[in-house]
Amino acid sequence: MLDKNGIAKRIAKEIKDGYYVNLGIGIPTLVANYIPEGVNVVLQSENGLLGMGPFPFEGEEDPDLINAGKQTITTLPGSSIFDSAMSFGMIRSQKIDLTILGAMEVSENGDIANWKIPGKMVKGMGGAMDLVASARNIIVAMQHVNKAGESKLLPACTLPLTGVRCIRKIVTELAVFDVLQEGGFKLIERAPGVSVDYIRKATSGKLYADDDAPEMVLD
């Protein structure tokens, strides 16, 4: 089974040289730590920055330089700044090669719910609806089950949707799945030490899993 860093590490393997990538808050943010040497990637922050650098050294924080999670960050050589309209313009026109974000639920047809729980204070969708509606290539990073132990990979989402038929790949602490065009979660890799049976029990949406699905190799 993977921890959060393991999930991030596995997702980092999906990133190819030359990608522009948008990382959501939470586990996706950790992905930046595992991008292999020699793979040149530019991180977009949708508040208006291409080429997001690491956190600043203590004492060098600049209140005018934050990411979409409102964290202090830095620029890199080759960074550029732009306004919010251009930022979502480049998202809509699919200039961003890969979007990685968290989710509360994903359905077997690729719908995602990650912004609203009825009855709870709703904070808003931020940029998530724009990202999922526009991106060509979206990977969800999430825990496989919720706090009540219920699967988050479902036949259909129960929570209000963020976007429809948009998720292509899911990485959880248990496994990696492709979301099939025709519907269903296709098991691609198991996390180390996790059995196909265990994954079957934890997945309530339609699952296509070979008994000899390979175990993932990290590092």
Partner: protein, 233 residues
């Protein structure tokens, strides 16, 4: 050139009245018009509709206006981290319209560019699409979203000149340029006000034609919401 300079925040906001619709620049607490917010709180104008990506925190930014119950309605993409906001929302004192961040930005841009409506895929198939026209282009569904219609846009820039030209610094740019284009009246506060001719014309982010009033603000606090650092190894 046409001189846009006013004496300060109080003069800049003097004709903002109860019931006005305001755009306020900034992302979180980054790039917000601190001086104008303080002046609005002092003036005590109420029943405002505020279009702003976020609603500040309890004791800073638009949160200061919420404390004084000056806001009737917020139009935002994300309103977390604000207990007073939550209280007013649950008690029904405050109305909130949540819209996708890109839609928010593009509806501002549409107003500035004289486009009455735009099409975006954001929100298709979700509750955001309720009551909206859906149209298919090249096999993909889009929502039609209208340009905003705001009485005032209040923005913060790093530098500005007497002709109203603005330059922003790093990600404090965010919504400020698109809102500056979109207000019927646009008010800009800047950290440093210079004479016309001191900014490179190629490097102006917001041309002065969009700005009706400009002043040099003071005492910027520039609060950081999430101070994240690394240590030198």
């Amino acid at each position: 050139m046409i001189n846009k300079v006013v004496s300060g925040a109080d003069e800049a906001i003097k004709d903002i009245t109860d019931g006005s619709t305001l755009m306020l620049g900034g992302f979180g607490l980054c790039g917000i018009p601190e001086n104008c917010i303080t002046a609005l709180v002092k003036k005590g104008v109420g029943q405002l509709t505020c279009i702003s990506n976020n609603a500040g925190v309890d004791d800073f930014g638009i949160g200061l206006m919420l404390q004084q119950r000056q806001v009737k309605k917020m139009i935002s993409s994300y309103v977390g981290e604000n207990a007073e906001f939550e209280r007013q929302l649950l008690s029904g004192e405050l109305e909130v319209e949540l819209i996708p961040q890109g839609t928010l930005a593009t509806r501002c841009m549409a107003a500035g560019y004289g486009m009455p409506a735009i099409y975006t895929p954001a929100g298709v198939g979700t509750e955001v699409a309720e009551g909206k026209e859906v149209r298919n282009f090249n096999g993909k569904d889009y929502l039609m979203e209208y340009a905003f219609d705001a009485d005032f846009a209040i923005v913060k820039a790093w530098k500005g000149d007497t002709a109203g030209n603005l330059v922003y610094r790093f990600t404090s740019r965010n919504f400020n340029p698109v809102m500056a284009m979109a207000g019927k009246v646009t008010i800009a506060e800047v950290e440093e006000l210079v004479e016309a001719g001191e900014l490179d014309p190629d490097q102006v982010h917001t041309p002065g034609v969009y700005v009706h009033r400009i002043f040099q603000g003071s005492g910027y606090e520039k609060r950081i919401e999430q101070r994240t650092v690394r240590t030198k190894s």
